[in-house]
Structures are given as structure tokens and as C-alpha cells.
């Protein structure tokens, strides 16, 4: 049976350099020793009951709050105080008393388990002090650096603000100038437009005349071709030989239908053939081509070989001009390209008479007007480009100024920087306030591990962590995201990366920007019970 008896712990406590022996039941902290008075009934700390003192630490739990068994594992909710002379005192759950595992560096938790524990408090205290000292040095230097960063950020901020307002002023001037140039441009473009239209109109007229002549010649030719008996008339019978002219497409050109085509008469002479020509010319197939047409039986398909009746190429320079006037802003670039050239004749290379469809060059006067207008357009474009550039710069500065760079702007310097960490497989890249990425070392494309989201530290230290999210999606999983934990360091470095959960990355990043003001020296050198 392993009943523990009331054992008074002889504890060494270092307080302000004096060693004091304080007798108290095992596991009781100094601060509570007054509640455990030897040989007086013990009242549970929650006041729930009072028990004889020999039931304190008798390895049976009497108090609901576990306070009667500070030195045994009897109470499920008890806690044990390790004095840990030479190091920090601590509380452990009483379930860790005599469990065979050394928890207190002073070994006091394993007094009856057979575990062989070494007292490591002094060594731990030494290490702790060294560590604290080192951290303090880093913090001290880091904090100095941080001050510089803050000053630098302040300076940059002011500079940026100054630049911004300067640019905003400039912008106004540039905008005015742009408006002036727009007017000049419009003034120059009016005569240009009129001259170009005149030129085009002349060409259109010319084309119409040529076309009419050709049609007439064709009509005469067809008349002769139809007038099989060469009697100077085209008769219903002669017309009927051209079944392709069948108006109801039932495959047969009846006498009545043919008569209709001829304008209601049985035959027409050359002079009155024009009416009939108008109604047949779209379907008419020259007898010289009729052999092949006759081979194709279905009436529908006979349409195919009909020559393209569209007289002109699709491009209509007039339309183009109209469009340009409607919204000259968006069409600038388009006009830049071909506004001064003659209308293109892309559709004509196969035609036997290329001259007919190509517009003649502009005359010298028109050309001069175009050149003059072009000059004003170029000036306008130039001014507009310049304005856009300034807009971009303003936007960029405004964006930068909109970031939360910390309470004193200490994170400003991280903006537009990138920091890399190379591991055995990947190179990780952190571009603060922008994105995190991962690139395989030996070939393969970069993966986005998240774009800047927000500061993500706990409430009391918001700026101790950054969250980057909406990275590249994982197959059947979430989008990648990264949490960047910031710790105080003299240098700004990515220390480590890991993927604790699939597609959720963790990056450790040191920077002076999170260094806190070091505690005053005396606190460091007097670490309480250490």
C-alpha cells in the first residue's frame, strides 16, 4: 500500500539572495502555507468542509477542490507546487505526482515512484538566464533598429505624402492641358474628315458608273444568249430553257412564270428586256456554265455557283469614320493604326480588275489635312499617356499608404521586399503585404501559397502574425494559405517553413519590427525565485 504520510517539505527558497527554510506540507506553495497549520483542523480552501490535519496529504481526496492533497495524486483536480530552487517555481497537475516521470526540475514530484530523477534546476536556471540574456540583447538591439525603422518609416511616409500631393497638383495641370489638346485635335479633325468624305464620295460615284455600264453590257450579252432563234426577241419558250429562273423553286419554270418574268408579255425585244433582266439577273446562269449547272439536280444547290453579287468589299470606310466619332476615346488606338491610310482593299486580290475596287490615293490637299490632324492626335495621346502614368503612380502611393504597417509604421520597410528560404526541396519566398510562394528547387513552376490577407495575431498582439490566403487551390482541398509568425530578431529573415496541416503553411519570420522595449536591467538580473 502506498499511503503517503504527512511529509513536511524542507524547501530551499531563494528570495532576495537569502535562503529561508519554510516548513509546509508537500506541494503547497509559500503563498498558501498559512492555510496549512500543523495540528490544526484543515478547512478546504473552498470552505466546503473541515478535516483533521492528519488527513492533509494522506492520499485520499476529502476536499472537492483538491486542496487537502497538494502533495499526492489523490484529487483529480489538485495541483502540486514545485519550488524548483535555482529555477522557476511551477505548478503541475497532481496526476503527475509519482507517475514515474520527472516533471519538477527539483525532483520533488517523484518522491515515491522509484523514478530516478536528477535535480536539473540549477542547470536549467543557468540556461534560462543565458537565454533571457541573449533574448534581451537581441531585443535591445532589435528595439533600437525598430526605432530607426519607425523613423525611416515616418520619413518615408512624409515623403510619400509630399510626393502624393505634388503629383495630385501636377495631375490637375496635366488634365487641363489634355483638355486643351483635345479641342485642338477636334478642330483639326473636322476639315480632315470632310476632305476624306469628299474623296470617298467621288470614288463611290465613279464605282457606280462603272458598275452600271458593266451590267448593261451583261444584259446585252444575255439577251443575245437567250435569243436562241436570233429573231431579236426573247420569247417565253426561250426563257423556259433556264429552269434556274423558276421563281417558286418547284423545279419547273412554267409558261406563266416565264411570262411573268418577261413582264406579262410573250416576248421582249432588246430595248424592253431591262425589266426582265432586273428580275432574272440574280438567278441567271450563263449558258456557257449551264452544263455543270444541269448536272446538279436539286434546285437548292444550284444557288451555290451563283457568283457573289455583292459589289463591294465589306469594309466601308464611311462607317468606320462614323464609329470613330461616336466614341473617340476607346477607338484611339484603332485609328492610330489606319486612320491616315487609304481604305484597305483586302478582299480583292483575286479579282481580275483590282483597280476598280481600290480607292485612289488622296489628293495633296487632303493629305495635308490628314497630316495636320495626325499631329494633334499624337500630341493628345502623348498627354493622355502622361496623365495615366501619373494616375498609376498616385494609385500606387495611395495603396502603399493604405496598408496597416503597424502602430508606428514599423513594418513599412518590409513593403515591396521579398525574403527567401531555401529548404531541401523548395525555395520559399515571402513578399510581405504581397504574397508567399514556393518554387521547387529542381524544376517545376511556382505555387502561390497565399496573397496578403490581414494581420492575424491574437487580440493582445495583433502584429505578431500575418495571414496570406487564397493561394493556389489544393486538389480536392482548400486554397493554400500561410500564417507568418513574427518574432523579434536583429535581422529580417525567414527562419523556417512548415505545413502543419495540408495546404496550410506556417512560416517563422524574424524582424526587428516586432521587438518590444526591453525590460529595465534590474528586472533581468533579479529573476525572482530563479
Amino acid at each position: 500500500m502506498s499511503c503517503a504520510y504527512l511529509l513536511l517539505a524542507l524547501s530551499l527558497s531563494v528570495c532576495l539572495g537569502y535562503a529561508v527554510e519554510v516548513q509546509r506540507p508537500r506541494g503547497v506553495p509559500l503563498s498558501k502555507r498559512q492555510f496549512y497549520e500543523e495540528n490544526k483542523p484543515f478547512t478546504c480552501l473552498d470552505g466546503s468542509r473541515t478535516i483533521p490535519f492528519d488527513r492533509v496529504n494522506d492520499d485520499y481526496c476529502d476536499c472537492k477542490d483538491g486542496s487537502d492533497e497538494p502533495g499526492t495524486a489523490a484529487c483529480p483536480n489538485g495541483s502540486f507546487h514545485c519550488t524548483n530552487a535555482g529555477y522557476k517555481p511551477s505548478f503541475i497537475p497532481s496526476s503527475r505526482i509519482n507517475d514515474g516521470i520527472c516533471d519538477c526540475c527539483d525532483t520533488t514530484d517523484e518522491y515515491n515512484s522509484g523514478a530516478t530523477c536528477q535535480n536539473t534546476c540549477r542547470e536549467m536556471g543557468r540556461q534560462e538566464r543565458e537565454l533571457l540574456q541573449k533574448q534581451a540583447e537581441i531585443a535591445k538591439e532589435g528595439f533600437l533598429l525598430k526605432q530607426q525603422l519607425i523613423n525611416e518609416a515616418k520619413r518615408q511616409q512624409e515623403e510619400k505624402q509630399g510626393k502624393l500631393s505634388e503629383m495630385q497638383t501636377n495631375r490637375k495641370t496635366m488634365e487641363d492641358k489634355l483638355e486643351a489638346l483635345r479641342t485642338v485635335k477636334e478642330v483639326a479633325e473636322q476639315p480632315e474628315k470632310e476632305a476624306k468624305e469628299r474623296h470617298l464620295k467621288a470614288w463611290e460615284d465613279q464605282k457606280a458608273i462603272i458598275h452600271a455600264e458593266k451590267d448593261k453590257a451583261k444584259m446585252a450579252e444575255v439577251f443575245l444568249e437567250l435569243d436562241d432563234d436570233e429573231d431579236g426577241y426573247v420569247s417565253v419558250a426561250e426563257l423556259q430553257s433556264h429552269s434556274e429562273l423558276d421563281p417558286d423553286s418547284d423545279g419547273a419554270l412554267t409558261e406563266v412564270e416565264a411570262q411573268g418574268l418577261l413582264g406579262g408579255v410573250d416576248k421582249v425585244d432588246a430595248s424592253s428586256f431591262e425589266t426582265a433582266w432586273v428580275s432574272i439577273k440574280e438567278k441567271y446562269i450563263s449558258e456557257s456554265q449551264a452544263d455543270s449547272a444541269a448536272v446538279d439536280p436539286p434546285a437548292e444547290e444550284t444557288r451555290q455557283p451563283v457568283p457573289d453579287n455583292e459589289p463591294y468589299p465589306e469594309d466601308d470606310p464611311v462607317d468606320e469614320e462614323d464609329e470613330n466619332e461616336d466614341d473617340d476615346e476607346d477607338e484611339e488606338d484603332y485609328r492610330d493604326e489606319d486612320g491616315d491610310k487609304p481604305p484597305p482593299s483586302v478582299h480583292t486580290p483575286e479579282k481580275s480588275e483590282p483597280d476598280e475596287d481600290a480607292m485612289p490615293p488622296y489628293d495633296a490637299h487632303t493629305k495635308a489635312l490628314i497630316d495636320a490632324a495626325q499631329k494633334t492626335r499624337d500630341d493628345f495621346d502623348e498627354a493622355e499617356r502622361a496623365l495615366r502614368e501619373v494616375d498609376d503612380q498616385i494609385k500606387s502611393i495611395e495603396k502603399e499608404l493604405s496598408f496597416d504597417f503597424g502602430p508606428s509604421g514599423e513594418f513599412t520597410h518590409l513593403y515591396s521586399q521579398c525574403y527567401e528560404l531555401s529548404t531541401s526541396e523548395y525555395v520559399y519566398k515571402l513578399c510581405p503585404f504581397n504574397r508567399v510562394s514556393q518554387k521547387p528547387k529542381y524544376g517545376g513552376s511556382e505555387t502561390n501559397l497565399g496573397s496578403w490577407g490581414s494581420w492575424a495575431g491574437p487580440e493582445d498582439s495583433l502584429y505578431s502574425a500575418m495571414k496570406y490566403d487564397h493561394g493556389t487551390g489544393c486538389w480536392q482541398g482548400p486554397n493554400r494559405s500561410t500564417t507568418v509568425k513574427l518574432t523579434c530578431g536583429k535581422e529580417t529573415v525567414v527562419m523556417s517553413t512548415s505545413e502543419p496541416s495540408r495546404c496550410e503553411y506556417l512560416m517563422e519570420f524574424t524582424t526587428p519590427a516586432v521587438c518590444q522595449e526591453p525590460l529595465p536591467d534590474h528586472v533581468l538580473h533579479d529573476p525572482g525565485e530563479l
Binding site: M1, D58, D59, A73, P76, S501
Partner: protein, 923 residues
């Protein structure tokens, strides 16, 4: 872990476009229906009717305990040999094989723990229509009907069970392929064959030539073809249970506890498969197969054990027949297997516990696990590296949640080469294990049976040089795709292979390991990503046998060899712990199983109960489901509820898929952390009870987790209950498995019983439905009045830390004011309890105001430091005094507290050693 999961799917998607689906549920088209499995279709096309089989009574030979008799199929004149045995313990074994098979047919080895001892058969009557044999017990008889052949087992005038009463005995005899027959004849193969053929010739005029049917000589499923060089070989037999409405068993299926009729649907399938994202309430095959079915009525429980390891389908139909003026139910069961012989054990009960004992006498009992294996297991695919393991380990201490095992999934290996460690992430495994050991904790690593084909990998080289790989049909090493890419599959059916495998667990072979490292066998169906139905081709060869013959045994053998390895590495001293995903009848002897790759859904939480209950009924007590669900992400509520349910199921392990967010218990806020901590702590306080239940399961085969009907067989209200269960017979658990639940209705069984809420000690009468309001804190658990349960209430960071801690006894009295229980104690991890009788087994009895501890096993010896710190009586009147009397006769008064509201009496600190004799008197 896992079916071809997401990641692997991505890798293989180009190679195997048909195998993987991005759909959320199982892709059913990857798995065969009965219609798509040629033999199942052929067999199922045979409808009930007149059997063509006739018993040739004149061939009957009866020795002491064995009767043989020839059967003839009047259509094809092929003769079968029927063997009947009466086995000790009220069982009958029926074997049917071809009288003269062309080649031997596979008979399952290694599953029975011994040749079952027989008892004499007595011929009572015989005439030209049949014969009657006595089965010894009471008025039980076996009637053989000659034409058509049929067996009836009778109890007095009552038919308990009939075989072939529906004429579905179909035995596809081995034959020569028609197009090769003449050739073979010309070569004059074996004498037997010639003789067989000769016999056939004599009777040729009567023989109805059997038609060749598609799929007899080769079969294609998706792009996979099965060469079937032996042709058709399937077998089928029907069993009728008059009066029976409830049948159970034949795991593993994600389906209800009570088996459903398969009329008009798919039969239950037994074929070990790695099913990616399995569906619930579905008779599809899963990872394991135990061909054991139990029938139950209020009067009698029986069982069938169909000993066949080939692909098997089970049809169940129920009908109601007018019988003696009443409307009586009947259940008909039909078994269909692809090859092998008919070898069926009929377990005649009559009580449920008898059937379980009978089955245990055939295939053995649950292995007795190390105590720590009954504690909580923390798993994830994957803990990334040693630092991660350390951080999680520290997390449990920081949040004061106990755990015993942390698990490493496949990513811990060097490129999925089992028995190795990733050189970057786990470069110092010994140091990691030592750190765990320093906290009395343990680890499990995964060792799967697929071996990376890599000439620089020691394991592969040795297996190849020893020629231990399974062969493909053409004689080369069988290769398939699994986690490592191209992999070979060791032939675990070969005892030499298993012996070699076991040696690989030695500390000097499996480098970096220590005695606190245990093993997990996954993917041992076997899973073959690019194989038919994600498993091995049936025409692959295990020595002289086809994979078709042994398929369902593969996982059983893998776990057997692994457990043997863990025993051997300790020189036979330490008990092994091995978790397996695939299993067969008898797997209970080698460790634990879990229900595979479930999902973080409420339905899967619910389903964990019937799935583990079904396994418990067929001997496999050490069962659990992945707490939290493997696929997908549980809501905090689901996770908490799953911990609460899992804390009361035998194998208690949290696990998660690689692609899910982390879910260590402290990641969901302080409230949920506290709820999970409380659930885990409840598990730890009850470990003495769990240990005693497992000891009992090991000794007797009685399941740890039991359906209510097992303990209340006469109460039909319990027959279909699957949302609550008993642990042993004394704790009733009704986990909350519904989202947003405000209450559950638990059925407390037993007329005249009383049940006590273990949290409030409130008393409830048995045989009623009790509505229990629940909050997130609630885990409805009741202790049966009349029981004594032992707990250790000082929960520490691992079970090993609690070894010497004192016990608290919970004495819950019944209506008669009595109670009893047991306490079992040993060293918790060695075989000394068995080999050297080093254990304590106490009986605790409370009667007439006296609670005493007496020795149940006077031959054993063990000393424990544990003592009795408290005794809590529930449901007793206030005594005027309590005294303790120790073995030396000394008496001392005990202090106590009494709470009249709940009739709760707490005795303060008896302080007696837990192994001692003592008595406490209440006056």
C-alpha cells in the same frame, strides 16, 4: 488510412482513368454486382425447386464420429461426397466435396485453431427414404432425406434448420475445357480423370449435357480479364430457419445490425476490398469478411460458419408461412462461393452465449491486448516529422489530456518503403521513441504488405531472392500499383514467407525501433490500385492455388505474421498489438480491426455501432471506427460526439485524412477541449473494467461490446436495437449521434432490473424506454443494478502511469440488494499471465450487507501495489456502521458519507491491497 485517395488519385489519374472518381461517395461502377460476377449470376439464376441431388444411402459409412455418404446429381451424374460430424459443444459440421475432383479443391487451413473434437454419432433409424441420427443433446436429431437430398436438424418435433430444402445445392464440378478436352484425353491425364470419364460414359444416356455459360472459362470486368484456367468451380447451398425473423453477422458491411432481406436487391458480399468512400446501408463488400451468421429467436440462437475464403455472396430472404394455424416467420439463407468446398459448421446454441462459445472453440478468442492498447490512440495521416510528433505529445500534456499511442501513417517511411524511416523527417526514430517512452507512451507505425519494387530496397531484394512474391498467371512476380508505385505482394499464405516476415520486426532488422513501437497493417485486402475492383487479379498464383481460392485470407495472414514478429522480437515475452484493416474468421487472435476509411458525417458515427456489434458477434471484439471520421472535416460538435461515443467503443483512435485540417483535441476552443478531455478521462477511469472485459473475451470469446439481445435474448424489443449497446453485461451506453440533439431515448432492458445513470446515480427501472435530455456534456451511460464495476479515478497522462494507482469500486445493487463483479490485474503487457499464471482475478460479491473480495484463481500469483481507495454503493439504505475485516481477521471501522437523495454511500479509504481477501460489513 486509405483507399486510393485524392493524392494518389491525382498521380494515377492519367494511368487509370477508370479507377478513380472525384465524386463524394463510392464509385459503385468500380465494384461488381452479382450480375457482373459470372459465378454469382449463374448461381443466382438457379431458382428454388426440386434438387437434382440424391443421397446414395447404400454408400453410407459410419465410424465413431463421422458419417460419409455419396450424393449424385441426377442431371450430370457427378458424385459428391458428404461428410457429417458431430462436434463437441453441440455443433454439427457438414462438408461436401466432389467425390473425385479433377484436381484438389481448396480447403481453408490455419483458421480453425485445431481439428475440432468430435463426438459419436448414433444411427437411430434407417429406411430407403433416409436415415435419422442422434445429435446427443436432448432430443436433437439429424434427418437425412435421400431423394431429393436434404438435411434437417430437429429438436423434438421442431425443425431447427434445413439444408437444401430449397434445392439450391449447386456444386460446379471441375471439368476439362471442351475445346481442349480431346487433347487432354489423348494425353491420358490422371487415372482418376479417366475413371471419372469412364463412369460418365456408362451412364451417358442419362446425362444431361450441361450448357457452357458465359464467364465459365474467362471473365472480364472493366479492362481486367480473369483467365480462369480451372473453369467453373462455384458452390452454393441453402439453409432454412423456420420460425426465425432475425439474423445477424457476416461482417463487414456498412449496414444495420439485423441483416435485411436481399430479395430483389444485391446479396451481401464477402470479398475483402479497399472501397474508396464507402456508402452506408449497403450490402457491398468492404475490407474484411467473416462468413458467420447468427439466427436468433426468443427461444433459440444458432449460428452458421461457412468456412470458405473465396469470393462469397449471401442471399437472405424472409417469408411468413402459415404453420399450425399461426403466422410463422422463416428466414432462408443462401451461400454462394466461387471455389473451394462446402464446409459449414452449424452451431446449435441454444443460448446466444453458447453460439459464441461454440464459434470461439473453432476459431479461437480475442487476443488479450496490452492494457495500453485499450487506452486512447492519437493518429493522423500524417504527423509530419519528429518535431511534429514532439509538439503533439507536448500538446496532450499542456491540455492535460491523456493518451497512450501516437501513430505514424505512410509518410513516415522512406518513399513508402515499409520498415524504413524518412531520412529527413524522421532521422532519429530511436530518440523520438525514447522521448515517448520517457513519458510512458508508445507509437505505432504502418507496415503495409505491398513492397516497392526497387532493387536497392532490402525487403524487396530478400523477398525476391527467396521467391516469396505472389506470381501472376504467367509465372512472373505479380506486380501492381499501390502507394510506392510499382509493388510486389509477398505470399503471406506461405508459412515460410510469414516466418521470414516475422523476423523483419526484430530490433536489429527494423532499424530505429524499440519495444514501445507497435504495428498497423493497412491495405491488406490486398489493395491494388490498378487491379480489378482495386484488388488482386484472381488468376494470380499462391504456389499451387489461385488468388481466387485464398483472397479473403490474405489480410488474416498479414496480421498473423506481423503479430508473430512482435512476439518474437521480445523473445516471446511481450504481447503484440497489431491493427488490421482486412480480416477473416479467426483474425481476432491477432489484434484489433477498425472499420476503415469512414467519413466525418453523423451517419458514419451512427454506423460505427452496428459495424462493431456485428464484428463482436463473430469473435472480433477489438473493433473501432476512426474517431472524427477519416474523410472530410467534422464540425466541432461531431468531433466531440465522436470522442464521446469512441470513448465507449473497444478500439479508441482518432484519425484523419491528409487533406483535412488538423484536429488535435485542443484546436476547437477551450469548451470543446474540455468536452473531449472529459470523454477521454472517462475512458481512462474505466480501463480496469475494459481490461477485465478483454480478459474475459480472451478466455471465453464473449464479446466486449454487445448488442442488447445477447444479454436479453428473450426480449424481442431488443432484437433490432443498434443505437445503444452493452459493454460486458453491466454498462449500457447510448451515445448521442444526432446533430443538435437535445435528448435521446434509451431502452433500458430487463423486467425487474434497475439501471443507474453513472453520472447522476439516478435509478431507473428496466424494461422501459427512457428519455434522457442531453447537453454537449452528456454521454448517456448506465450501470446495471447488481453489478460491481472497478475504476481507477486518478487519471494520468498515460495508462502506464496509472499502473499502481488505487481502485474505486462502484457497487450498484439490484432489487434484491445484491451485486457482483470481477477484478483482473496483471502486469499489463506480457504473456506471464498465461505462461506463469501471474495475475490476480478476484470475485467481488455484495450480499446481505457484506461486500467481499475472493480469489477466482487460486493457482495464480501476482502482487500489485494497487489498493482500494474508495467503495461507492449505489442504491443502498444508510448503514449505522461499516467495518473492514482483513484476511488476518483484524477488523477496523470505516468512515463513510451517505447521500439519501441518491442512496449513495461512499466508504472512505478501506486501504486494502487489491489482490487481498477482505470483507466489508454494512450494518
Amino acid at each position: 488510412m486509405a483507399a486510393p485517395t485524392d493524392r494518389m488519385g491525382l498521380l494515377l489519374v492519367a494511368l487509370l482513368p477508370v479507377l478513380f472518381s472525384i465524386a463524394d461517395a463510392v464509385d459503385r461502377s468500380n465494384f461488381k454486382t452479382c450480375d457482373q460476377s459470372a459465378f454469382c449470376k449463374r448461381q443466382r439464376d438457379v431458382k428454388p425447386g426440386q434438387s437434382p441431388y440424391r443421397a446414395l444411402l447404400e454408400t453410407m459409412e459410419l465410424s465413431e464420429a463421422r458419417l460419409t455418404l455419396q450424393l449424385i446429381n441426377d442431371n450430370n451424374k457427378v458424385r459428391l461426397l458428404l461428410e457429417l460430424y458431430r462436434l463437441q459443444g453441440n455443433m454439427t459440421r457438414v462438408r461436401i466435396n466432389e467425390l473425385k475432383p479433377l484436381r484438389p479443391r481448396y480447403e481453408v487451413p490455419d483458421v480453425l485453431i485445431q481439428e475440432p473434437p468430435t463426438e459419436s454419432l448414433l444411427l437411430l433409424e434407417r429406411d430407403e427414404h433416409g436415415m435419422v441420427l442422434s445429435l446427443g443433446v436432448d432430443d436433437q436429431r439429424l434427418i437425412i432425406n435421400a431423394r431429393p437430398f436434404r438435411l434437417d436438424i430437429m429438436d423434438g418435433p421442431k425443425v431447427l434448420l434445413s439444408l437444401n430444402s430449397r434445392g439450391l445445392l449447386v456444386f460446379e464440378h471441375l471439368r476439362l475445357r471442351k475445346d481442349t478436352k480431346t487433347e487432354a484425353d489423348a494425353e491420358g491425364v490422371e487415372n482418376d480423370v479417366e475413371q471419372n470419364e469412364a463412369e460418365k460414359v456408362e451412364e451417358v444416356e442419362e446425362v444431361t449435357e450441361e450448357e457452357e455459360q458465359p464467364g465459365m472459362w474467362e471473365e472480364t470486368f472493366k479492362s481486367h480479364s480473369d483467365a480462369k484456367p480451372s473453369g467453373p468451380s462455384s458452390i452454393s447451398l441453402d439453409f432454412s430457419f423456420p420460425g426465425v425473423d432475425h439474423v445477424y453477422g457476416i461482417p463487414e458491411h456498412a449496414d444495420s445490425l439485423k441483416l435485411r432481406t436481399t430479395d430483389g436487391g444485391e446479396p451481401y458480399r464477402l470479398y475483402n476490398l479497399d472501397v474508396f468512400q464507402y456508402e452506408l446501408y449497403n450490402p457491398m463488400a468492404l475490407y474484411g469478411a467473416v462468413p458467420v451468421l447468427l439466427s436468433h429467436t426468443a427461444e433459440r440462437t444458432m449460428g452458421l460458419f461457412w468456412l470458405n475464403a473465396a469470393e462469397t455472396w449471401v442471399d437472405i430472404s424472409s417469408s411468413r408461412a402459415v404453420q399450425g394455424g399461426g403466422d410463422a416467420p422463416q428466414t432462408d439463407v443462401r451461400w454462394i462461393s466461387e471455389s473451394g468446398i462446402i464446409d459449414v459448421f452449424i452451431m446449435l446454441g441454444p443460448r446466444p452465449t453458447d453460439v459464441i462459445s461454440q464459434y470461439a472453440s473453432l476459431t479461437g478468442t480475442q487476443s488479450f491486448p496490452p492494457l495500453s492498447a485499450l487506452a486512447y490512440h492519437q493518429c493522423r495521416w500524417n504527423y509530419n516529422d519528429q518535431e511534429d510528433v514532439q509538439a503533439v505529445d507536448n500538446g496532450f500534456d499542456e491540455y492535460d489530456i491523456p493518451y497512450d499511442f501516437i501513430w505514424l501513417d505512410i509518410e513516415h517511411t522512406d518513399g513508402k518503403r515499409y520498415f524504413t524511416w524518412d531520412p529527413n523527417k524522421f532521422s532519429q526514430p530511436r530518440e523520438m521513441l525514447q522521448n515517448l517512452k520517457d513519458k510512458k507512451r508508445k507509437m505505432v507505425t504502418i507496415v503495409d504488405p505491398h513492397i516497392k519494387v526497387d532493387s536497392s530496397y532490402k525487403i524487396h531484394k530478400e523477398i525476391r531472392s527467396k521467391d516469396f512474391y505472389i506470381k501472376n498467371k504467367d509465372g512472373g512476380d505479380y506486380e501492381g500499383w499501390c502507394w510506392p508505385g510499382n509493388a510486389g505482394y509477398p505470399d503471406f499464405t506461405n508459412p515460410e514467407m510469414r516466418a521470414w516476415w516475422a523476423t523483419m520486426f526484430a530490433y536489429d532488422q527494423y532499424e530505429g525501433t524499440m519495444d514501445n513501437l507497435y504495428t498497423w497493417n493497412d491495405m491488406n485486402e490486398p489493395s491494388v490500385f490498378n487491379g480489378p475492383e482495386v484488388t488482386m487479379h484472381k488468376d494470380a498464383l499462391h504456389g499451387g492455388w489461385e488468388h481466387r481460392d485464398v483472397h479473403n485470407l490474405y489480410g488474416f495472414y498479414v496480421q498473423m505474421a506481423t503479430a508473430q514478429g512482435l512476439i518474437q522480437r521480445s523473445g516471446g515475452v511481450e504481447r503484440p498489438f497489431v491493427l488490421t484493416r482486412a480480416f477473416f474468421a479467426g483474425s481476432q487472435r491477432y489484434g484489433a480491426v477498425w472499420t476503415g476509411d469512414n467519413a466525418a458525417e453523423w451517419g458514419h458515427l451512427k454506423m460505427s455501432i452496428p459495424m462493431c456489434l456485428s464484428l463482436g458477434l463473430v469473435g472480433i471484439s477489438f473493433c473501432g471506427a476512426d474517431v472524427g471520421g477519416f474523410f472530410k472535416t467534422p464540425s466541432p460538435e461531431l468531433l466531440v460526439r465522436w470522442y464521446q461515443a469512441g470513448a465507449y467503443q473497444p478500439f479508441f483512435r482518432a484519425h484523419a485524412h491528409l487533406d483535412t485540417p488538423r484536429r488535435e483535441p485542443w484546436l476547437f476552443g477551450p469548451e470543446n477541449t474540455a468536452l473531449i478531455r472529459e470523454a477521454v478521462r472517462q475512458r481512462y477511469t474505466l480501463l480496469p473494467y475494459w481490461y477485465q472485459l478483454f480478459y474475459n473475451a480472451h478466455r471465453t470469446g464473449q464479446p466486449v461490446m454487445r448488442p442488447l439481445w445477447l444479454e436479453y435474448p428473450g426480449d424481442p424489443a431488443t432484437f433490432a436495437i443498434e443505437d445503444e449497446f452493452l459493454l460486458g453485461k453491466d454498462l449500457l451506453v447510448h451515445p448521442v449521434t444526432d446533430e443538435g440533439s437535445h435528448g435521446v431515448t434509451a431502452f433500458l432492458p430487463g423486467e425487474g432490473e434497475v439501471w443507474y445513470d453513472v453520472h447522476t446515480y439516478k435509478k431507473h427501472q428496466g424494461n422501459l424506454n427512457l428519455y434522457i435530455p442531453v447537453t454537449m456534456n452528456s454521454i448517456p451511460v448506465f450501470q446495471r443494478g447488481g453489478s460491481i464495476i472497478t475504476r481507477k479515478e486518478r487519471v494520468r497522462r498515460s495508462s502506464s502511469c496509472m499502473e499502481d494507482d488505487p481502485y474505486t469500486l462502484y457497487v450498484a445493487v439490484n432489487a434484491q440488494g445484491t451485486a457482483e463483479g470481477e477484478l483482473y490485474i496483471d502486469d499489463g503487457h506480457t504473456f506471464n499471465y498465461e505462461k506463469q499464471n501471474q495475475f490476480i482475478h478476484r470475485r467481488l460479491t455484495f450480499t446481505e450487507g457484506s461486500l467481499s473480495s475472493s480469489n477466482l484463481s487460486p493457482d495464480s500469483q501476482f502482487s500489485t501495489a494497487s489498493w482500494v481507495e474508495k467503495v461507492i454503493f449505489i442504491g443502498v439504505p444508510k448503514p449505522s456502521a461499516a467495518t473492514l475485516r482483513t484476511a488476518d481477521g483484524a477488523e477496523s471501522p470505516l468512515e463513510f458519507e451517505f447521500d439519501p437523495a441518491s442512496e449513495l454511500l461512499a466508504l472512505r479509504k478501506p486501504g486494502v491491497n487489491a489482490g487481498a481477501d477482505w470483507t466489508i460489513h454494512l450494518r
